[in-house]
Amino acid sequence: MKPFAALLERLAFTQARGAKLALLQRYFAATPDPDRGFGLAALTGGLRLATARPAQIRALIAARTDPELFALAYDYVGDLAETVALMWPAADEGAAPPGLAEVIAALERTPREAVPGQLAAWLDRCDASERLALLKLITGGLRVGVSARLAKVALAGLGAGGVAVEAIEEVWHALTPPYGALFAWLEGRGERPDPAGAPSFRPPMLAHPLEADDFARLDLAAYRAEWKWDGVRVQLAAGPGGRALFSRGAEDISAAFPDIVAAMGFAAVLDGELLVVREGMVAPFADLQQRLNRKAAPARLLASHPAAVQLYDMLFDGEEDLRALPFDARRARLEAWFARARPARMGLSPLLPVAGRAALAALRDGAREAGIEGLMLKRADSPYLAGRPKGLWWKWKRAPLTIDAVLLYAQHGHGKRGGLYSDYTFGLWREDGTLVPVGKAYSGFTDAELTFLDRWIRTHTVARFGPVREVEKTLVLEVAFDAAQRSTRHKSGVALRFPRISRIRTDKPANEADRLDTLLGLIGPGKD
C-alpha cells in the first residue's frame, strides 16, 4: 500500500504530463508483481470491488471521534475520505500497512456487509497517506488525473526495447488484473498476449478551439459543419471478438451503458457523442452525469435516463481501416453503413449548411438548447489522425452570456476545493431595491481569484448559517452562463445553465450590478 499511496499523493498534485509519466514509470518499474498490476487496474478503472458507502465511512469515524470535532474538521477539509484519513487514530508504532494485492484479494471475498469492519482493521495499520489511498480505493474515487491512455503510454516506455502504445491497446482488452502476462511481455520475459479479436481502443482525433482570428482566416468552402454536442465523446468498437464502449481517455465504460452495448450488434469502430435522450429531446448534461462513473447501471436509472449516441465518424467498417480516407469519404461510408445497419439508440449527427461566415455565426449563437454547445468545423479532406493535429478540426463554442451580479452567500467547496469558500450564491436587483438570488457558481475562477474570494468572504461575513456565510452585499461578480431558462423552482423565476465566475468586478459598486429584468430579457425562446 505504501508505494501506491505515495504514487497517488504525488499524482494528485502533478499537472504536467511528462512528470505524471515519470511517476507512473517509476512506480511500475520499482513495485513488484502483483501489487503493480493491481495499482495499474485501480488507476485504469479495471477493478470491480466491493465498496463502502459514505454513510458507512461516517459511521466508522463517528465511533472513534468526537462528533463536534468531526463536524468542524469536515467543514474545514471539505472531503469525507480526506477528513477521515487525517483524523483516524494513529497506528501503533511498527504496524505494517496491508499490501495492495492483499487488500484486493480480501475485498473480492469479503461480503458487502463485512467491508466496513475489514476497512477499519486496515486503517488501524496505516499512516495518513495510506489511509487516504485505501479510502479512495474503497469508495471508488481515486481521481488523480490519470487516464487509461496515459497509464498505457507509461507502460510503453517500461521495457528496455520499448513497445508502441498502439500495440498495448491492441492486446489490452484481452488482459485482466494483475496483468502478469502484460508486464512479462513488456519486460521481455514473455510472449505478446493474444488479443483474440477483443475490441481495442483507437486514439481519437481532437479539435482545437476556434478563436476569432482563426475564423476570419478559415477557407469555409473546405470545411464541413456539425453541432458540437454537450455530451461525452465515445468510441464504439464491436466485432466478432466482443463489444466495448470507450471514453476519450480509453476507459472502458461498457458496464455503465448496457443499453448502448446491447445496440452494438455490428462490426465497426465508430466515433460519436454519448447523451441522455428522452422522447427525442437531449437532456441536460447533469442527467448524463448520473449515468457516468458507475460500475453498473440499475434498471430504474436505465429507464429514467436512457442513453443514446450521435454518430459523426467511422474509423473501421468491419476489418477495413478507414482512417486514411478524407472526412467526406468516411462520412459517405458512415451514412451508407448507418442506412444498412440502423442501430437502435443511435443517430447520425447531421451535417449543417455552411453558407458564409455570418450565417454560420448566427447558427452557432442561435444554438441555445440543451445538448448543443456550439459548432464543429472539420476539413472535408482531413484524414482521421490521432491526437490534436493543427488546422483540421475546430471546435467553436458559442459565446457565453454574462451578467454582473452581487455576491450574497458562500459555502465551502468539497473535494478538490475543500476548505476554501468556493461555492458562491449571487443575486440581482429587483424593482423594489432588494437582491434576489439567481444562481450558484463554483467554477470559472483562477487559483488567485479563489484565494482572493476566500479571503474576502472570511473578512466580510455578516452572518453564519451552519456551513453557509452571508456576506456584505458589496462585491460584484461577472457571471458567465450558457443560457437562461424560465423556472418555477427558483424564487427569481429563472434558472441559469452552467453559470461560472468570469471576472471579479472590484471596480464596480454593487448598486450598478444588473437588474433581474435584464436577465429575464435573455431567456431563450420557447423552452419553458
Binding site: R10, A12, F13, T14, Q15, A19, A22, L23, R26, T65, D66, E68, L69, F70, L72, A73, Y76, V77, G78, D79, E82, T83, L86, M87, A90, D127, A128, G413, G415, K416, R417, G418, G419, L420, D447, A448, L450, T451, D454, R455
Partner: protein
Amino acid sequence: MSAPAAETWLQVRPEGLYCVPGDFFIDPLRAVPRAVITHAHADHARPGHGAVLASAETLALMRARLGAGAAGARQQPVGLGEALTLGGVRLWLAPAGHVLGSAQVAMEYRGQRVVVSGDYKRAADPTCAGFEPVRCDVFVTEATFALPVFRHPRAGDEIVKLLASLALFPERSHLIGCYALGKSQRVIALLRQAGWQRPIYLHGTLMPLCRLYEALGVPLGELRPVIGATKAELAGAVVLAPPSALADRWSGRLADPVTALASGWMQVRARARARGVELPLVISDHADWDALNATIDETGAAEVWVTHGAEEALVHAATRRGVRARALRLIGYGEEAGEDGGEAP
C-alpha cells in the same frame, strides 16, 4: 487566600494583551510604550515600540527585519529563565521551540502564574531551543492548527519525500517556498541532517536572515544567491524562496522547477492545490492538534485562553477534559502574515 482572577490583571485591549500591574503589552499589534515580544515574526514583532523586552536572538532578528531604529527605542535582552520583576509582576522567558529566540512569557502576580505561549511547536528543530512546558494556573495558547486533521508528520519524513523527488527528477530545480524567518533555516538544517551537502540556492530576501542565524550559532552549510547562478548549476538544485515568490517567474534560470511549499497548511490537499504546489511538504513551526492538547495538559492549567487560530475546536476539546477554556478573539495574528498567504509562519 484565593488569587484575583487573571482577567483583573491581564486584559485584552485594542493594542493586544496587556499586563496591568507590569504596564506592558505582549506582542502588541501597534506601537506601545512598553512591549514584551515572544518572537520576531512580523505579526508579533511590530515596529515603533518604546521599550522592548525579548530574548537577545529575537532582538537581533527584529533589528535585522525592522531596522535598528524601529526595533524598539530601548531594547532589553533577557536570557531564557532569567527572572525580573516589573511592577510587582515576576516575569521570565521560557523556550517556545517556534523559531530562533522564540519564547513563552511566564508571569507571576500575587501567587498566580500565567504563561503566554506565543507561537510554539513541540517537534525537534535543529535551529532553536526546544519548547519547555511551564506549570501554570492560566495558559494562553495559540491555536493556528487547532483542528484534529492537523497532525504533522515527522519533518524528517517530509525531507525524505523531497530527496526522493530530487532523485526522480534530477534535471529539475526544486523550488521550495519557505517563510523567510525560521522555516527557511529549519528546512536547510533538516536537509543538511539528511546528508544534502550540495550548495543551497536562495532568493535574495532570504540571505540576510540565514547569515544572521549563522552569526547566532546555527550552521547552514554552503548557501548561494540564485542571482549569478548558471542554469546548469540550478538544474537539480534546491532553491528556497519566500512563498509569495513561488507564483511569479522571478528567475527564468530555474530549470522546469518542481514547486514545493513547506507549511503546516499543506496537510489539506485543497489548500496545497490552491497554491499550485506540485510537492507539498508538511513542515510546520506550530504545534499540531495532538501537541496543543498535550501541552495544555502538561501545563496543568485549570484555565486556558486561546489567542488565534481555530479557537472553537480547541476550546471544545479542552472543555471536554474539564479545563475552563475561552477564546480571546485577538485579531491581527496569523491572518496578517501576508508573506505566506494568510499562514502564521
